[in-house]
Protein backbone atom coordinates (compact mmCIF):
# COMPACT_ATOMS: atom_id res chain seq x y z
CA UNK A 1 0.00 0.00 0.00
CA UNK A 2 1.98 2.90 -1.29
CA UNK A 3 -0.37 5.59 0.04
CA UNK A 4 1.03 5.40 3.56
CA UNK A 5 4.47 6.56 2.50
CA UNK A 6 6.20 9.86 3.21
CA UNK A 7 9.31 10.51 1.19
CA UNK A 8 11.42 13.67 1.27
CA UNK A 9 14.33 14.30 -1.05
CA UNK A 10 16.67 17.19 -0.43
CA UNK A 11 13.79 19.13 1.09
CA UNK A 12 14.67 22.77 1.82
CA UNK A 13 12.64 25.70 2.96
CA UNK A 14 13.76 29.27 3.46
CA UNK A 15 11.45 31.77 5.12
CA UNK A 16 10.53 34.88 3.13
CA UNK A 17 12.85 36.95 5.34
CA UNK A 18 15.80 34.72 4.41
CA UNK A 19 15.94 32.64 7.60
CA UNK A 20 16.65 29.03 6.66
CA UNK A 21 13.95 26.70 8.05
CA UNK A 22 15.12 23.30 6.91
CA UNK A 23 18.15 22.52 4.76
CA UNK A 24 18.34 19.51 2.46
CA UNK A 25 16.35 17.01 4.50
CA UNK A 26 15.90 13.51 3.05
CA UNK A 27 14.10 10.52 4.54
CA UNK A 28 11.61 7.82 3.64
CA UNK A 29 8.93 6.71 6.04
CA UNK A 30 7.07 3.57 5.03
CA UNK A 31 3.70 2.06 5.82
CA UNK A 32 2.90 1.61 9.50
CA UNK A 33 6.14 3.10 10.75
CA UNK A 34 6.11 5.26 13.85
CA UNK A 35 8.75 7.95 13.64
CA UNK A 36 9.76 10.56 16.19
CA UNK A 37 11.21 13.85 14.93
CA UNK A 38 13.32 15.29 17.73
CA UNK A 39 15.58 18.30 18.03
CA UNK A 40 16.18 21.34 20.19
CA UNK A 41 14.03 24.46 19.95
CA UNK A 42 14.31 26.04 16.52
CA UNK A 43 15.77 22.92 14.92
CA UNK A 44 13.10 22.97 12.21
CA UNK A 45 10.66 20.37 13.51
CA UNK A 46 7.55 22.52 13.12
CA UNK A 47 8.65 23.79 9.71
CA UNK A 48 9.10 20.22 8.55
CA UNK A 49 5.68 19.24 9.91
CA UNK A 50 4.01 22.12 8.11
CA UNK A 51 5.29 20.67 4.85
CA UNK A 52 3.67 17.34 5.51
CA UNK A 53 0.19 18.78 5.09
CA UNK A 54 1.10 21.20 2.37
CA UNK A 55 0.85 24.39 4.40
CA UNK A 56 4.36 25.25 3.27
CA UNK A 57 5.67 24.23 -0.10
CA UNK A 58 9.39 23.44 -0.32
CA UNK A 59 11.67 26.05 -1.89
CA UNK A 60 13.88 23.19 -3.09
CA UNK A 61 13.59 19.42 -3.27
CA UNK A 62 10.53 17.18 -3.39
CA UNK A 63 8.15 15.61 -0.97
CA UNK A 64 5.89 12.67 -1.75
CA UNK A 65 2.91 11.99 0.47
CA UNK A 66 1.37 8.63 -0.36
CA UNK A 67 0.64 8.55 -4.07
CA UNK A 68 1.12 12.26 -4.66
CA UNK A 69 4.09 14.57 -4.99
CA UNK A 70 3.35 17.65 -2.89
CA UNK A 71 2.22 20.54 -5.07
CA UNK A 72 -0.54 23.10 -5.15
CA UNK A 73 -2.62 20.99 -7.52
CA UNK A 74 -3.05 18.04 -5.20
CA UNK A 75 -3.19 19.76 -1.83
CA UNK A 76 -6.69 18.41 -1.26
CA UNK A 77 -5.64 14.81 -1.77
CA UNK A 78 -2.59 15.30 0.46
CA UNK A 79 -4.68 16.79 3.25
CA UNK A 80 -7.08 13.90 2.93
CA UNK A 81 -4.19 11.48 3.44
CA UNK A 82 -2.50 13.31 6.30
CA UNK A 83 -4.24 13.95 9.60
CA UNK A 84 -2.54 16.72 11.53
CA UNK A 85 -2.85 17.22 15.28
CA UNK A 86 -1.71 20.67 16.34
CA UNK A 87 0.22 21.57 19.45
CA UNK A 88 -2.48 23.85 20.86
CA UNK A 89 -5.86 22.07 20.77
CA UNK A 90 -7.59 25.46 21.01
CA UNK A 91 -6.46 26.09 17.44
CA UNK A 92 -8.02 22.88 16.29
CA UNK A 93 -11.34 22.95 18.10
CA UNK A 94 -13.32 25.81 16.62
CA UNK A 95 -16.85 24.50 16.41
CA UNK A 96 -19.65 25.04 18.97
CA UNK A 97 -19.68 21.52 20.38
CA UNK A 98 -17.35 18.54 20.44
CA UNK A 99 -19.71 16.64 18.14
CA UNK A 100 -19.83 19.44 15.55
CA UNK A 101 -16.08 19.71 15.66
CA UNK A 102 -15.48 16.03 14.98
CA UNK A 103 -18.16 16.14 12.26
CA UNK A 104 -16.56 19.14 10.54
CA UNK A 105 -14.03 17.12 8.50
CA UNK A 106 -16.32 14.27 7.40
CA UNK A 107 -19.04 16.74 6.34
CA UNK A 108 -16.50 18.65 4.27
CA UNK A 109 -15.45 15.39 2.66
CA UNK A 110 -19.05 15.05 1.53
CA UNK A 111 -20.08 12.05 3.63
CA UNK A 112 -23.85 11.59 3.82
CA UNK A 113 -25.27 12.95 7.12
CA UNK A 114 -26.50 9.59 8.38
CA UNK A 115 -22.98 8.14 8.05
CA UNK A 116 -21.35 11.17 9.66
CA UNK A 117 -23.03 10.47 12.98
CA UNK A 118 -21.61 6.93 13.03
CA UNK A 119 -18.14 8.08 12.02
CA UNK A 120 -18.11 10.79 14.70
CA UNK A 121 -19.23 8.49 17.47
CA UNK A 122 -16.70 5.86 16.47
CA UNK A 123 -13.88 8.44 16.53
CA UNK A 124 -14.99 9.74 19.92
CA UNK A 125 -15.22 6.21 21.32
CA UNK A 126 -11.75 5.36 20.04
CA UNK A 127 -10.24 8.14 22.14
CA UNK A 128 -12.70 7.45 24.98
CA UNK A 129 -14.53 10.76 25.16
CA UNK A 130 -17.96 9.99 23.69
CA UNK A 131 -19.59 11.35 26.87
CA UNK A 132 -18.30 14.84 26.00
CA UNK A 133 -20.06 15.08 22.64
CA UNK A 134 -22.47 17.86 23.61
CA UNK A 135 -19.95 19.99 25.51
CA UNK A 136 -18.45 23.20 24.10
CA UNK A 137 -14.69 22.72 23.53
CA UNK A 138 -13.64 25.68 25.69
CA UNK A 139 -15.12 24.01 28.76
CA UNK A 140 -12.90 20.92 28.50
CA UNK A 141 -9.72 20.13 30.42
CA UNK A 142 -6.36 20.05 28.62
CA UNK A 143 -6.33 16.25 28.36
CA UNK A 144 -9.91 16.14 27.10
CA UNK A 145 -9.18 18.82 24.51
CA UNK A 146 -6.23 16.79 23.24
CA UNK A 147 -8.31 13.63 22.95
CA UNK A 148 -11.04 15.49 21.06
CA UNK A 149 -8.44 17.08 18.77
CA UNK A 150 -7.19 13.59 17.89
CA UNK A 151 -10.78 12.44 17.31
CA UNK A 152 -11.37 15.32 14.87
CA UNK A 153 -8.54 13.94 12.77
CA UNK A 154 -9.42 10.25 13.16
CA UNK A 155 -12.95 10.88 11.90
CA UNK A 156 -11.48 11.69 8.49
CA UNK A 157 -9.74 8.28 8.45
CA UNK A 158 -6.31 9.52 7.38
CA UNK A 159 -3.53 7.12 6.39
CA UNK A 160 -0.81 9.14 8.05
CA UNK A 161 -1.01 10.84 11.45
CA UNK A 162 1.22 13.86 12.03
CA UNK A 163 1.42 15.24 15.56
CA UNK A 164 3.14 18.28 16.99
CA UNK A 165 4.05 17.79 20.66
CA UNK A 166 1.09 15.58 21.53
CA UNK A 167 2.10 15.20 25.20
CA UNK A 168 2.83 18.85 25.98
CA UNK A 169 0.72 20.27 28.77
CA UNK A 170 -0.68 16.92 29.87
CA UNK A 171 -0.52 15.61 33.42
CA UNK A 172 1.46 12.35 33.85
CA UNK A 173 -1.57 10.09 33.81
CA UNK A 174 -3.17 11.77 30.78
CA UNK A 175 0.21 11.52 29.05
CA UNK A 176 0.46 7.80 29.80
CA UNK A 177 -3.10 7.23 28.57
CA UNK A 178 -2.34 9.10 25.34
CA UNK A 179 0.77 7.02 24.72
CA UNK A 180 -1.18 3.80 25.27
CA UNK A 181 -3.87 5.07 22.89
CA UNK A 182 -1.38 6.01 20.18
CA UNK A 183 0.21 2.56 20.47
CA UNK A 184 -3.08 1.01 19.35
CA UNK A 185 -3.23 3.03 16.11
CA UNK A 186 -2.20 1.27 12.93
CA UNK A 187 -1.49 4.51 11.01
CA UNK A 188 1.89 5.67 9.84
CA UNK A 189 2.84 8.14 12.57
CA UNK A 190 5.16 11.14 12.49
CA UNK A 191 5.52 12.76 15.90
CA UNK A 192 7.55 15.89 16.59
CA UNK A 193 8.37 16.03 20.27
CA UNK A 194 10.65 17.05 23.11
CA UNK A 195 9.31 14.18 25.17
CA UNK A 196 12.09 11.72 24.44
CA UNK A 197 10.68 9.16 26.83
CA UNK A 198 7.55 9.07 24.74
CA UNK A 199 9.69 8.66 21.64
CA UNK A 200 11.30 5.61 23.27
CA UNK A 201 7.93 4.11 24.22
CA UNK A 202 6.13 4.83 20.97
CA UNK A 203 8.49 5.13 18.04
CA UNK A 204 10.87 2.49 16.81
CA UNK A 205 12.60 5.04 14.63
CA UNK A 206 13.84 8.57 15.31
CA UNK A 207 14.98 11.40 13.07
CA UNK A 208 17.21 13.94 14.82
CA UNK A 209 17.15 17.46 13.42
CA UNK A 210 19.67 20.14 14.22
CA UNK A 211 19.75 23.59 12.67
CA UNK A 212 17.42 22.49 9.90
CA UNK A 213 19.37 19.40 8.83
CA UNK A 214 19.11 15.70 9.69
CA UNK A 215 21.98 14.71 11.97
CA UNK A 216 20.83 11.16 12.55
CA UNK A 217 18.12 8.76 11.41
CA UNK A 218 17.81 5.29 12.91
CA UNK A 219 16.44 3.07 15.68
CA UNK A 220 15.26 5.21 18.61
CA UNK A 221 16.92 3.14 21.33
CA UNK A 222 20.30 3.35 19.66
CA UNK A 223 20.21 7.04 18.78
CA UNK A 224 18.99 8.23 22.15
CA UNK A 225 21.84 6.40 23.91
CA UNK A 226 24.43 8.14 21.77
CA UNK A 227 25.75 10.71 24.21
CA UNK A 228 27.85 12.56 21.62
CA UNK A 229 25.02 12.85 19.11
CA UNK A 230 22.58 14.08 21.76
CA UNK A 231 25.02 16.70 23.06
CA UNK A 232 25.72 17.93 19.55
CA UNK A 233 21.99 18.25 18.81
CA UNK A 234 21.16 20.06 22.04
CA UNK A 235 19.34 17.10 23.57
CA UNK A 236 19.60 14.95 26.69
CA UNK A 237 19.18 11.24 27.29
CA UNK A 238 15.60 10.18 28.00
CA UNK A 239 15.01 9.89 31.75
CA UNK A 240 14.32 6.17 31.54
CA UNK A 241 17.77 5.63 30.03
CA UNK A 242 19.50 7.59 32.75
CA UNK A 243 20.62 6.06 36.01
CA UNK A 244 18.24 6.40 38.92
CA UNK A 245 19.60 8.99 41.36
CA UNK A 246 18.41 6.86 44.31
CA UNK A 247 19.33 3.27 43.44
CA UNK A 248 21.68 3.71 40.51
CA UNK A 249 19.72 1.27 38.33
CA UNK A 250 18.32 2.13 34.92
CA UNK A 251 14.56 2.07 34.65
CA UNK A 252 14.60 0.64 31.11
CA UNK A 253 16.35 -2.47 32.38
CA UNK A 254 13.52 -5.02 32.79
CA UNK A 255 15.37 -6.80 35.60
CA UNK A 256 15.62 -3.79 37.86
CA UNK A 257 12.61 -1.75 36.72
CA UNK A 258 9.98 -1.29 39.43
CA UNK A 259 6.49 -2.41 38.32
CA UNK A 260 4.40 0.36 36.74
CA UNK A 261 1.30 1.34 38.63
CA UNK A 262 -1.86 0.41 36.76
Amino acid sequence: MSHHIVEAQDLSYTYPDGTPGIRGVSFRITHGESVAVVGSNGAGKSTLLLHLNGYRLPTRGTLRIGDYPLSKANLKAVRRTVGMVFQDPDDQLFMPTVFDDVAFGPLNLGLPPEEVEDVVMRALETVGVSHLKKRPPYRLSGGEKRSVAIATVLSMSPDILVMDEPTSGLDPRARRRLIELLKTFQHTKVIATHDLDMAVDLCERTIVLHEGAVTADGPTRELLQDQALLAESGLEKPLQMQHCPLCGNRSDNPKTRPPLAA
Partner: protein, 270 residues
Amino acid sequence: MAKIDKHFFDLGYMDTLASQQTPIHRLDPRAKLITTLVFITMVVSFGKYEISALIPFFIYPVFLCAVGNVPPVYLLKKLILVSPFAVMIGIFNPLLDREILVRLGDMGVSGGWISFASILLRFVLTVGVALILIAVTGFYAVCAALEKLGTPSVFVVQLMFLYRYLFVLVGEASRLVRARSLRAIGNGGSGIKTYGSLVGHLLLRTMDRAQRIYLAMCCRGFDGKIRMLKPLKFGLPEIGFVCGWLGFFIAIRFYNIPALLGGAVTELFK
Protein backbone atom coordinates in the same frame (compact mmCIF):
# COMPACT_ATOMS: atom_id res chain seq x y z
CA MET B 1 -8.41 41.75 35.97
CA ALA B 2 -10.95 40.22 38.36
CA LYS B 3 -13.59 42.07 36.37
CA ILE B 4 -12.55 40.58 33.05
CA ASP B 5 -12.56 37.11 34.53
CA LYS B 6 -15.93 37.67 36.09
CA HIS B 7 -17.64 38.77 32.89
CA PHE B 8 -15.98 35.89 31.15
CA PHE B 9 -17.68 33.36 33.43
CA ASP B 10 -20.92 35.31 33.15
CA LEU B 11 -20.81 34.84 29.41
CA GLY B 12 -20.49 31.09 29.83
CA TYR B 13 -23.61 31.24 32.01
CA MET B 14 -25.63 32.17 28.91
CA ASP B 15 -24.68 28.80 27.42
CA THR B 16 -25.76 27.03 30.59
CA LEU B 17 -29.12 28.77 30.36
CA ALA B 18 -29.41 27.87 26.68
CA SER B 19 -28.84 24.17 27.37
CA GLN B 20 -32.02 23.88 29.51
CA GLN B 21 -35.00 21.84 28.33
CA THR B 22 -38.21 23.88 28.34
CA PRO B 23 -40.97 24.19 25.73
CA ILE B 24 -39.38 27.47 24.62
CA HIS B 25 -35.92 25.90 24.27
CA ARG B 26 -37.37 23.06 22.19
CA LEU B 27 -38.84 25.42 19.58
CA ASP B 28 -37.01 25.76 16.27
CA PRO B 29 -34.57 28.70 16.55
CA ARG B 30 -36.00 30.23 13.37
CA ALA B 31 -39.41 30.64 15.00
CA LYS B 32 -37.90 32.50 17.96
CA LEU B 33 -35.66 34.58 15.72
CA ILE B 34 -38.44 35.70 13.40
CA THR B 35 -40.78 36.54 16.27
CA THR B 36 -38.06 38.49 18.05
CA LEU B 37 -37.11 40.45 14.92
CA VAL B 38 -40.74 41.41 14.32
CA PHE B 39 -41.04 42.37 17.99
CA ILE B 40 -38.03 44.67 17.76
CA THR B 41 -39.30 46.28 14.55
CA MET B 42 -42.69 46.92 16.14
CA VAL B 43 -41.18 48.44 19.27
CA VAL B 44 -38.96 50.88 17.38
CA SER B 45 -41.73 51.85 14.96
CA PHE B 46 -43.63 53.95 17.52
CA GLY B 47 -43.51 57.75 17.61
CA LYS B 48 -40.99 59.43 19.89
CA TYR B 49 -43.43 60.46 22.64
CA GLU B 50 -45.06 57.04 22.96
CA ILE B 51 -44.98 55.40 26.36
CA SER B 52 -48.31 53.83 27.22
CA ALA B 53 -48.61 51.83 23.99
CA LEU B 54 -45.20 50.26 24.68
CA ILE B 55 -46.25 48.78 28.02
CA PRO B 56 -48.16 45.73 26.63
CA PHE B 57 -45.01 44.72 24.76
CA PHE B 58 -43.50 43.66 28.06
CA ILE B 59 -45.76 40.63 27.99
CA TYR B 60 -43.55 38.88 25.39
CA PRO B 61 -40.20 39.08 27.27
CA VAL B 62 -41.90 38.26 30.57
CA PHE B 63 -43.52 35.23 28.95
CA LEU B 64 -40.18 34.03 27.49
CA CYS B 65 -38.41 34.53 30.84
CA ALA B 66 -41.10 32.68 32.77
CA VAL B 67 -41.50 29.70 30.44
CA GLY B 68 -37.85 29.61 29.37
CA ASN B 69 -36.65 29.76 32.99
CA VAL B 70 -34.34 32.77 32.59
CA PRO B 71 -33.49 34.45 35.93
CA PRO B 72 -34.69 38.09 35.73
CA VAL B 73 -31.97 39.38 38.09
CA TYR B 74 -29.22 38.11 35.82
CA LEU B 75 -30.92 39.74 32.85
CA LEU B 76 -31.30 43.02 34.72
CA LYS B 77 -27.59 43.09 35.56
CA LYS B 78 -26.72 42.61 31.90
CA LEU B 79 -29.10 45.42 30.93
CA ILE B 80 -27.56 47.79 33.46
CA LEU B 81 -24.13 46.94 32.08
CA VAL B 82 -25.03 48.22 28.60
CA SER B 83 -27.49 50.94 29.72
CA PRO B 84 -24.95 53.83 29.50
CA PHE B 85 -25.27 53.68 25.70
CA ALA B 86 -29.03 54.22 25.81
CA VAL B 87 -28.75 56.88 28.50
CA MET B 88 -26.17 58.78 26.44
CA ILE B 89 -28.51 58.85 23.45
CA GLY B 90 -31.40 60.38 25.35
CA ILE B 91 -29.77 62.36 28.16
CA PHE B 92 -29.95 65.73 26.38
CA ASN B 93 -33.59 65.40 25.31
CA PRO B 94 -34.95 67.00 28.55
CA LEU B 95 -32.66 70.02 27.96
CA LEU B 96 -33.45 70.49 24.28
CA ASP B 97 -37.17 69.80 24.28
CA ARG B 98 -38.78 71.84 27.08
CA GLU B 99 -42.31 72.07 25.77
CA ILE B 100 -44.77 70.88 28.41
CA LEU B 101 -46.77 67.96 27.04
CA VAL B 102 -48.40 66.40 30.06
CA ARG B 103 -49.59 67.80 33.38
CA LEU B 104 -49.56 65.55 36.44
CA GLY B 105 -51.46 67.68 38.93
CA ASP B 106 -49.42 70.86 39.27
CA MET B 107 -46.27 69.42 37.75
CA GLY B 108 -45.67 69.79 34.03
CA VAL B 109 -43.69 67.10 32.25
CA SER B 110 -41.78 68.30 29.22
CA GLY B 111 -41.61 66.46 25.90
CA GLY B 112 -37.90 65.88 26.48
CA TRP B 113 -38.49 63.81 29.60
CA ILE B 114 -41.17 61.79 27.86
CA SER B 115 -39.04 61.00 24.82
CA PHE B 116 -36.13 60.12 27.17
CA ALA B 117 -38.38 57.68 29.04
CA SER B 118 -39.57 56.28 25.72
CA ILE B 119 -35.96 55.67 24.60
CA LEU B 120 -35.17 53.87 27.85
CA LEU B 121 -38.29 51.72 27.57
CA ARG B 122 -37.42 50.74 24.02
CA PHE B 123 -33.86 49.99 25.07
CA VAL B 124 -35.05 47.66 27.85
CA LEU B 125 -37.50 45.93 25.48
CA THR B 126 -35.24 45.43 22.48
CA VAL B 127 -31.95 44.62 24.23
CA GLY B 128 -33.77 42.56 26.83
CA VAL B 129 -35.50 40.47 24.19
CA ALA B 130 -32.25 39.95 22.26
CA LEU B 131 -30.54 38.70 25.44
CA ILE B 132 -33.45 36.43 26.24
CA LEU B 133 -33.39 35.07 22.69
CA ILE B 134 -29.78 33.97 23.16
CA ALA B 135 -30.47 32.61 26.65
CA VAL B 136 -33.33 30.41 25.42
CA THR B 137 -31.79 29.44 22.07
CA GLY B 138 -28.00 29.51 22.31
CA PHE B 139 -25.73 31.68 20.22
CA TYR B 140 -24.86 29.00 17.69
CA ALA B 141 -28.48 28.00 17.14
CA VAL B 142 -29.28 31.66 16.43
CA CYS B 143 -26.44 31.63 13.88
CA ALA B 144 -27.79 28.45 12.31
CA ALA B 145 -31.23 30.07 12.08
CA LEU B 146 -29.72 33.18 10.46
CA GLU B 147 -28.02 31.02 7.86
CA LYS B 148 -31.18 29.00 7.12
CA LEU B 149 -33.08 32.25 6.68
CA GLY B 150 -30.66 33.39 4.00
CA THR B 151 -27.98 35.48 5.74
CA PRO B 152 -24.74 35.21 3.70
CA SER B 153 -22.60 32.47 5.23
CA VAL B 154 -19.58 34.80 5.48
CA PHE B 155 -21.38 36.82 8.17
CA VAL B 156 -22.60 33.76 9.98
CA VAL B 157 -19.15 32.18 10.04
CA GLN B 158 -17.74 35.47 11.37
CA LEU B 159 -20.30 35.55 14.14
CA MET B 160 -19.63 31.96 15.15
CA PHE B 161 -15.91 32.51 15.30
CA LEU B 162 -16.36 35.74 17.21
CA TYR B 163 -18.22 33.86 19.89
CA ARG B 164 -15.95 30.82 19.99
CA TYR B 165 -12.72 32.79 20.24
CA LEU B 166 -14.07 35.42 22.59
CA PHE B 167 -13.33 32.92 25.33
CA VAL B 168 -9.77 32.35 24.15
CA LEU B 169 -9.20 36.09 23.67
CA VAL B 170 -10.52 36.96 27.12
CA GLY B 171 -8.33 34.25 28.62
CA GLU B 172 -5.28 35.58 26.81
CA ALA B 173 -6.05 39.21 27.69
CA SER B 174 -6.55 38.43 31.36
CA ARG B 175 -3.25 36.53 31.46
CA LEU B 176 -1.48 39.54 29.93
CA VAL B 177 -3.11 41.95 32.37
CA ARG B 178 -2.25 39.68 35.29
CA ALA B 179 1.37 39.42 34.18
CA ARG B 180 1.53 43.22 34.01
CA SER B 181 -0.09 43.88 37.36
CA LEU B 182 2.13 41.35 39.15
CA ARG B 183 5.21 43.20 38.01
CA ALA B 184 3.88 46.75 38.26
CA ILE B 185 5.00 48.11 41.61
CA GLY B 186 2.99 51.10 42.75
CA ASN B 187 2.24 53.24 39.76
CA GLY B 188 5.14 52.05 37.66
CA GLY B 189 4.33 50.27 34.44
CA SER B 190 0.69 51.25 34.26
CA GLY B 191 0.92 54.13 31.81
CA ILE B 192 -0.51 54.43 28.34
CA LYS B 193 2.79 53.17 26.91
CA THR B 194 2.49 49.83 28.68
CA TYR B 195 -1.11 49.43 27.63
CA GLY B 196 -0.23 50.26 24.06
CA SER B 197 2.28 47.48 23.89
CA LEU B 198 -0.11 45.17 25.72
CA VAL B 199 -2.86 45.71 23.17
CA GLY B 200 -0.33 45.42 20.34
CA HIS B 201 0.82 42.06 21.67
CA LEU B 202 -2.72 40.87 21.93
CA LEU B 203 -3.33 41.84 18.32
CA LEU B 204 -0.20 40.06 17.10
CA ARG B 205 -1.03 36.93 19.07
CA THR B 206 -4.55 37.00 17.71
CA MET B 207 -3.29 37.23 14.16
CA ASP B 208 -0.95 34.31 14.73
CA ARG B 209 -3.75 32.29 16.17
CA ALA B 210 -6.04 33.18 13.27
CA GLN B 211 -3.38 31.81 10.92
CA ARG B 212 -3.16 28.56 12.86
CA ILE B 213 -6.91 28.13 13.06
CA TYR B 214 -7.27 28.73 9.35
CA LEU B 215 -4.58 26.12 8.74
CA ALA B 216 -6.40 23.67 11.00
CA MET B 217 -9.59 24.31 9.04
CA CYS B 218 -7.91 23.84 5.69
CA CYS B 219 -6.45 20.55 6.91
CA ARG B 220 -9.96 19.33 7.42
CA GLY B 221 -11.29 20.35 4.05
CA PHE B 222 -12.70 23.83 4.77
CA ASP B 223 -13.95 25.46 1.56
CA GLY B 224 -15.72 28.58 2.81
CA LYS B 225 -18.84 26.88 4.00
CA ILE B 226 -19.49 25.54 7.48
CA ARG B 227 -21.63 22.42 7.45
CA MET B 228 -23.42 21.29 10.54
CA LEU B 229 -25.59 18.33 11.38
CA LYS B 230 -28.50 20.15 12.97
CA PRO B 231 -31.84 18.97 11.74
CA LEU B 232 -34.10 22.02 12.13
CA LYS B 233 -37.80 21.31 12.13
CA PHE B 234 -40.41 23.98 11.58
CA GLY B 235 -43.60 22.20 12.64
CA LEU B 236 -46.99 23.02 14.13
CA PRO B 237 -45.72 24.35 17.49
CA GLU B 238 -43.45 26.80 15.62
CA ILE B 239 -46.23 27.98 13.31
CA GLY B 240 -48.50 28.43 16.33
CA PHE B 241 -45.81 30.35 18.24
CA VAL B 242 -45.01 32.70 15.37
CA CYS B 243 -48.63 33.34 14.28
CA GLY B 244 -49.92 33.77 17.82
CA TRP B 245 -47.30 36.32 18.80
CA LEU B 246 -47.38 38.17 15.48
CA GLY B 247 -51.15 38.52 15.83
CA PHE B 248 -50.69 39.85 19.35
CA PHE B 249 -47.98 42.31 18.28
CA ILE B 250 -50.11 43.67 15.45
CA ALA B 251 -53.05 44.09 17.82
CA ILE B 252 -51.04 46.05 20.38
CA ARG B 253 -49.26 48.00 17.69
CA PHE B 254 -52.44 49.43 16.23
CA TYR B 255 -54.65 49.55 19.32
CA ASN B 256 -53.36 51.34 22.39
CA ILE B 257 -54.72 48.81 24.88
CA PRO B 258 -53.78 50.76 28.08
CA ALA B 259 -55.48 53.89 26.70
CA LEU B 260 -58.57 51.89 25.69
CA LEU B 261 -58.73 50.25 29.12
CA GLY B 262 -58.26 53.62 30.84
CA GLY B 263 -61.02 55.10 28.67
CA ALA B 264 -63.37 52.23 29.49
CA VAL B 265 -62.70 52.57 33.23
CA THR B 266 -63.29 56.36 33.25
CA GLU B 267 -66.44 55.77 31.17
CA LEU B 268 -67.70 53.38 33.89
CA PHE B 269 -67.26 55.96 36.65
CA LYS B 270 -68.89 58.82 34.78
